[in-house]
């Protein structure tokens, strides 16, 4: 850190000692500023940045007052901690005081003799944070991807940091200088040939059923799935949340931009799903061909009290592409229901959601027929 050189941004640490009893309110700041020996910026929590700095204090016999004040930066005063690294049993922290109307606190440390100690001061500093971004370049076949991840360090804290150790997590750190109002983008992950899966998803609860009736194309969402496992070429660390931009090799030594998505944190073993865009070359047309009441039951007043329905849905999925595609089709049936007849296998995701995996050949077409009864409707 070089806070001492900045006028508007000060992190001042002074040590005074009391040889004779002095009035508490007469705070004396006389001792020269101790240099920071080491600074650590911890960014593993995306919501707050922890600064840890080490300094060597020269303590005198008796009660020492260590004054820590700041200006032009925003420090959470309740987060400030002092840890004595050397001679921890000889330097006893007696108390902490907050002077009135000041951005400061005072540690009271008692020593039996005079010596130098190394202390670590930790605090949460505002307006310095990190972002994670990804850049993936898929191959032409869309089976593998070169994935780079960047740490973007944004420092608007009011403080300059010089040669600080920046920790993204316990295992990942690097030395970096970053000035106030400076942003640094650093490559920290570069993996080649990661396995990816491409998928198309039609959710009947979200997308229009009959695209012919619309003046716009109904795009079928397309996603890449990256499993954070060893077999994919990953699986060592969690993938942090951040914006993912996906490109694809164009076969002419260049790339095109496929799209971008915001990915959440992906722990080891989990899958990152990146929605890149919509396909207009897969068209799903879904129509209800039948809906009638059956098993109608009435009360003594001849009013309908209970009935079932007999419903038939037909969905045609057409692949206009010259490559096969696996379409995930999600259907929803409300209420209590029984399947009367279905021409494709499905996975029941929950009580009301069915998921079909439909393999569509190149320039091929398949029709899903879903004949079901809803039961005991009132």
């Amino acid at each position: 850190m070089k806070g001492k050189s900045r006028i508007y941004s000060l992190l001042v640490l002074t040590v005074s000692f009391i040889v004779f009893a002095a009035p508490v309110h007469a705070r004396i700041k006389l001792v020269a500023l101790p240099e920071r020996e080491k600074t650590i910026i911890r960014l593993d929590n995306p919501n707050a940045t922890l600064i840890e700095e080490e300094r060597v204090l020269t303590l005198q016999k008796g009660i020492n007052k260590v004054d820590f004040s700041w200006k032009g930066v925003s420090i959470d005063a309740d987060s400030i901690r002092l840890n004595v690294l050397t001679h921890p049993y000889k330097a006893i922290l007696l108390g902490v005081g907050y002077p009135p109307n000041e951005a400061a606190l005072v540690w009271e440390i008692h020593c039996d003799e005079a010596f130098e100690v190394t202390v670590r001061i930790s605090y949460l500093l505002s307006n310095i944070d990190r972002m994670i971004t990804y850049k993936g370049i898929a191959d032409k076949a869309e089976t593998h991807m070169n994935l780079k991840s960047f740490l973007v360090l944004r420092n608007f804290s009011g403080e300059d940091f010089e040669k600080a150790s920046v920790f993204l997590d316990d295992n990942l750190s690097f030395e970096q200088s970053v000035s106030h109002e400076e942003t640094r983008q650093l490559l920290f992950l570069n993996k080649r040939g990661i396995s990816i899966e491409k998928g198309w998803t039609f959710d009947a609860g979200k997308l229009p059923w009959d695209p012919e009736k619309l003046d716009i194309n109904v795009g079928i969402p397309v996603s890449y799935r990256i499993k954070n496992i060893k077999n994919s070429g990953l699986g060592t660390y969690a993938l942090y949340d951040g914006k993912v931009r996906v490109f694809q090799e164009d076969g002419h030594k260049g790339t095109i931009f496929l799209g971008e998505d915001k990915a959440g944190l992906v722990p080891v073993g989990e899958t990152m799903k990146i929605y890149i865009g919509d396909s207009r070359d897969i068209v799903v047309t879904q129509r209800k061909m039948q809906e009638k009441r059956i098993n109608v039951r009435r009360n003594n007043k001849n009013r309908v009290v209970l009935y079932d329905t007999d419903e038939l849905i037909k969905a045609t999925a057409e692949n206009f592409k010259d490559r096969p595609a696996i379409l995930t089709m999600i259907e929803h049936i409300t209420d209590q229901w029984d399947m009367a007849e279905c021409n494709m296998k499905y996975k029941k995701k929950d009580a009301y959601t069915l998921e079909f995996e439909i393999e569509l050949p190149a320039h091929g077409k398949k029709e899903l027929s879903l004949h079901y009864n809803r039961r005991n409707l009132r």
């Binding site: 400076e182 942003t183 914006k243 095109i256 496929l258 207009r280 809906e291």
Partner: protein
């Protein structure tokens, strides 16, 4: 690419950390060798890739890149050595304090000499759209279809001798590139952001004569034949690469021919559907994006088609109407809506109405009944060419029965409450058919 706007790439050898900000160590300004623009139309987005020859020295080199008065997204900046990649590491990209629209790459080189690098970024302000002109033959059995691409540059930058590629497809974007480009800080800033006013546009008038000069210079080097467009599919998108290079100064557009296909067989299709079009008959031109229709090489990007008809007199034309259509995949049917017409008439007339087959409950109240309507539909073609007419009827109930009589053509149940009749009519022919629609209500519907 331009000389007028500021897009300098400056390389220097790192002397000290502070020297970066003092900008005293800048030594060369390499010129661009090539520029490639990949322009999207589903979003305001262009991928720019340019190559430059840098002279690197052993050790840490710094490359400064600035882009004032443009709409470049700084978070997209990327640099890649095209040769000697194993000897060169891009260490980081820094956006220095108190400097807008400026980034500095730290490049560690284990060799000294010239290295071509590619600098890529996303920018806003360039756009393209497709439009079409169709000319029907005199008998309206075929159509000549010409496609065009119009590229417009409002990016703040002149692109000279740029290879132009356009992308058809809908990409997912989290942020608008224009918003990212206008941010005060490259990645924004933590905490509350100050309101930033957009930078005033530079006065372009002064540069107009220079732009015209550039264009005149380009015109002299133009090919004597129309340019070809190479089309290829990538992922879910189609990439159209325009042959050669183009110069598109800021504020200018260029119209580029996309394709020209003669004698596409077309069907004059007329549609009647009261729920969608009221009582009007709509005219469509119908064909298919396949080989049988002399198309089918690529999808057709959505756009507006203006349809004309050859009236046969000294190549004179009649304007038939225009149609805005959506993206047409390969092998997909195309129906171009040219709007309402009066020369094909569809008249459904209710000829009879009655209710019947009542059911009563134990208290003597009505619990079910049928509603019966008899329609007579006359379909008249007043044109001197044969036509195809499609009539759709919606019933708003799933419980119905239908009896048909007369010349109703092909009948199809579209879904639970919609039917379709498709008739082919010869020159000035009239056809009439009847159908009896029985709709069940109450207990009769069970």
């Amino acid at each position: 690419m331009k000389n007028r706007l500021i897009l300098p790439a400056i390389i220097g050898v790192l002397l000290s950390y502070s020297a970066v900000y003092a900008k005293v160590d800048l030594v060369t300004l390499p010129k661009r060798e090539t520029v490639q623009l990949t322009i999207y139309n589903s979003a305001d987005l262009t991928l720019v890739r340019e190559t430059r020859d840098l002279t690197l020295k052993k050790g840490t080199n710094r490359l400064q890149f600035s882009w004032a008065n443009t709409l470049i997204d700084p978070t997209s900046l990327d640099m890649l050595p095209k040769l000697k990649g194993k000897e060169i590491d891009i260490l980081d990209l820094t956006f220095p304090p108190r400097a807008r629209n400026l980034g500095v790459w730290s490049v560690e080189s284990r060799m000294s000499g010239d290295v071509p690098v590619e600098i890529a970024y996303l920018t806003s302000g360039l756009s393209w759209r497709a439009f079409y002109m169709g000319t029907l033959s005199k008998n309206e059995k075929t159509m000549r279809l010409k496609g065009y691409v119009r590229v417009t540059n409002n990016s703040g930058e002149d692109y000279e001798q740029a290879q132009i590629r356009v992308i058809v497809g809908k990409i997912n974007l989290i942020d608008r590139i224009a918003d990212l480009a206008r941010r005060k800080y490259a990645y924004g800033r933590p905490g509350p952001s100050p309101v930033v006013r957009p930078a005033p546009q530079a006065d372009r008038a002064a540069g107009m004569s220079e732009v015209k000069h550039k264009l005149m210079r380009v015109e002299k080097s133009m090919m004597a034949r129309p340019k070809e467009i190479k089309k290829e599919g990538l992922s879910e998108y189609f990439l159209y690469t325009i042959e050669g290079t183009e110069t598109v100064p800021h504020g200018w557009s260029r119209r580029l021919p996309s394709f020209d296909v003669k004698e596409i067989p077309v069907v004059n299709l007329y549609k009647f559907e009261q729920e969608r079009y009221g009582n009007q008959v709509m005219r469509f031109l119908s064909f298919k994006n396949d080989k049988a229709h002399k198309l089918g090489d690529t999808p057709i990007p959505g756009g507006t088609l203006k349809a004309f008809r050859d009236v046969g007199k000294e190549g004179r034309l009649s304007y038939e109407g225009k149609s805005r259509f959506k993206y047409i995949p390969l092998d997909e049917d195309v129906e171009l809506n040219l709007g309402p017409v009066a020369n094909v008439i569809v008249k459904p007339v209710l000829m009879d109405y009655k209710t019947d087959r009542y059911l009563f409950d134990g208290k003597g109240n009505i619990s079910g009944w049928d509603e019966i309507r008899v329609f007579e539909v006359s379909v008249k073609n007043t044109r001197a060419i044969p036509v195809k007419v499609e009539i759709r009827q919606n019933f708003k109930t799933a419980s119905w029965e239908m009896e048909k009589a007369g010349d109703f053509g092909a009948y199809e149940k579209v879904d639970l409450d919609t039917v379709k009749f498709t008739l082919k009519l010869g020159v000035r022919e009239t056809k009439t058919f009847r159908y009896t629609l029985t709709m069940h209500h109450g207990k009769r519907a069970e």
